[in-house]
Symmetry: C2
């Protein structure tokens, strides 16, 4: 706060107050005005006037105080405030390698509907992605008696390098085009506010809203699916980097001039850890049935390793060691309170078995304090979609609060 | 701001206003009240009352408006505000491998004095460090007509793993003891507020206050001296990690089971880049004169490489490649706007010659945008000491503003 190169944040103080009051209500789920004033240090009079605005805008509603939460005082019955679930409905979409998953939530975050569809292709051109998204969203909303126009916003998670504040996709394995202003296109196609982010960031957001990351201000999520992703939360916010290219983990290098990665570079962590990396090794060891799909081959390889096949075991051990090294580097750089390992591949416990975590602990700088906690979260794609919906909620909230500011001035 | 796991920041709003107003005055150097109000969005009346408090506390003074800065309006002559240099004097100490450097600054940041002394030992016990620090500081203050008691605070930079907010040293190569509450000891010895941080963080702070980092909210400083250090600035603040162990770069791993590092682990970046790593290789290649000091040997090795000796060249090239790989990983993770390379070893341009920077660019994830800017800053230890003094200024400012808050309530 005190250093000279930091620009003063230039929010209208009343707007900052609204954000703070609303986020406090959201975080506390139900809370009395007086407790908001105490927690935010905003005067009781201002809290009363801000909450009146939030109620008028329909974002917040009064609710009788839960008597079990504390004894009622004499006089006027105390009321709590809570986010009004019906105020906005949002949808979140997660595109994975072969399917799209949709979560529809009310504004409290309660699920209204969910939907899944296999993808017709693993790589779209942008017009194809836009019309597919619209089609999927139509079916998804209809399946719970809604229309797209009932939504206040849509969050979309894609793999790749995405400048989230701009909704700009530098590159995604799911898109044929590079350098696409995907938000503008989807906003136009859906006629709704659209919020786009890297899918691993949205898992981090799901952890923050619904998972292990609640009330933890600094944590890291590492996802292993078809590729390797990372989401970084610093000071309660997703860290995205200057060009929106931050938090790239899968393509950090663990070996100079190492194994070839599908990105074209050498020695990326992903080139030792991803499905294709494991299968590349298994192919050479010639242990696979060529008739099987990649998924089946991987399961078979894992079964062989578990059954004691030395070659198969070594393939997984090498992947585990490289993973431990990559994780240790992250711990050395960020020193987070918590690391959450997530994603489909967490079904293969070689990635997080005790030896791997222990190896990681051995590779970080040693101080006489416990190493960061590591938790495994084997969520499915639905949770990623809920993270995308949470991102949409954040964006819709900003729009709604800005609208109040517009009335007020 | 809007996510539910973020704790509301619980500052007294008036105290937050004081910090904002003072930091604006510091950043702008000289600024009129009306411009502070505009920039901070704090009401003109509150700015007037806060600046009156700051003037009464002696932190800020009025100064006639520089007429060249803009035409004078009719009526009352406009005055600017500026930080009052005489309000506080602070000192910063940087302990390097073989000497200690002291910078004494006024509260604007102008140098009052500087001092340097060779160290009697490269590793102290903590009592030894405390009495040595006191002795050095006595001489340093006397050399500019002051006494230790004239200082309002002292900043100290050490290599190692330091929990700066607690002033706790987990480990430092300059200390025999581990897990030391060094701040308490030095505060008692010097009878002054003391602020301790990892030395690379203080270089980052020096860059932020006095160097290339001014007005840049996200940048990274990498220092190569006896060891390899890093300071990370995110959103205008030094990033330190949960346990104060963050921003560790020298001991990130660039090679699984690689070269032995002096930390006892294998494959650390430092084990390929530090003086001892280069000399280890040179020893094997047998190119060195055993009579020379390490420093002389290194200079000789560099001279040989420049003269075309293939073995010497390869030693530096290997170090450069590992450095490029480590830097690329940092870029992939942080995506900073700027990387500043600093420290004594920057005299050896093999670490930042075009090939190394180009290699780094090849190893980061490719998007169709320019890679982060890389700047070289060959500052001496005095600048590190000025960073330590800036850290002390930050701490002294907090104390002074808290005192105002105490009067006010």
């Amino acid at each position: 706060m005190l250093n000279p190169s930091k620009n003063a944040h230039s929010l209208d103080p009343r707007q900052g107050g609204r954000e703070l009051v609303f986020s406090t209500i959201r975080a506390r789920e139900r809370v009395a005005r007086i407790d908001i004033a105490q927690e935010t240090k905003i005067s009781a009079a201002t809290v009363t006037s801000i909450t009146a605005e939030l109620i008028a805008e329909g974002l917040v509603e009064e609710t009788p105080r839960d008597p079990s939460a504390g004894e009622l005082k004499r006089g006027r019955p105390r009321v709590d405030l809570k986010v009004r679930g019906a105020s906005h409905i949002v949808a979140g979409l997660k595109f994975s390698n072969n399917k799209v998953t949709v979560a529809i939530l009310d504004f409290v975050g309660n699920p209204i509907g969910e939907y899944e569809r296999r993808m017709p292709t693993s790589q779209f051109d942008i017009e194809g992605l836009a019309s597919f998204t619209k089609d999927v969203l139509e079916t998804a909303t209809q399946s719970c008696g809604l229309q797209i126009s009932d939504l206040s916003g849509v969050g979309v998670g894609l793999a790749g390098i995405i400048d989230a504040p701009k909704g700009f996709v530098h590159w995604s394995p799911q898109l044929k085009n590079r350098n696409v202003d995907l938000r503008s296109l989807l906003t136009k196609t859906l006629d709704l506010p659209v919020f786009i982010d890297n899918d691993a960031n949205l898992v981090a957001m799901a952890e923050q809203w619904f998972g292990y990351g609640r009330n933890i201000s600094d944590f890291i999520v590492v996802t292993i699916e078809h590729g390797v992703g990372m989401g970084i939360v610093i000071d309660g916010k997703i860290y995205r980097g200057t060009r929106g290219c931050g938090a790239e983990f899968g393509h950090t290098k663990v070996q100079l001039d190492g194994a070839l990665c599908r990105c074209g570079q050498r020695g990326c962590l992903e080139a030792y850890l991803a499905d294709y990396a494991l299968l590349r090794e298994a192919n050479i060891a010639n242990t696979l049935d060529e008739e099987e799909t990649s998924e089946e081959k991987l399961v078979a390889l894992f079964r062989e390793a578990k059954a004691g096949d030395e070659t198969a075991k070594l393939i997984f051990q090498q992947a585990g060691s490289m993973f431990a090294m990559g994780l240790a580097n992250i711990v050395n750089i960020f020193d987070p309170a918590l690391i959450i390992l997530s994603g489909e591949r967490m079904q293969f416990e070689y990635l997080y078995e005790d030896e791997v975590i222990e190896q990681m602990r051995q590779l970080v700088v040693q101080v006489d304090m416990p190493a960061p906690e590591v938790r495994i979260h084997t969520w499915g794609d639905l949770m990623w979609a809920r993270g995308a919906a949470a991102y949409a909620m954040e964006g819709v909230t900003k729009i709604a609060l800005k609208r109040i500011s517009g009335h007020a001035t």
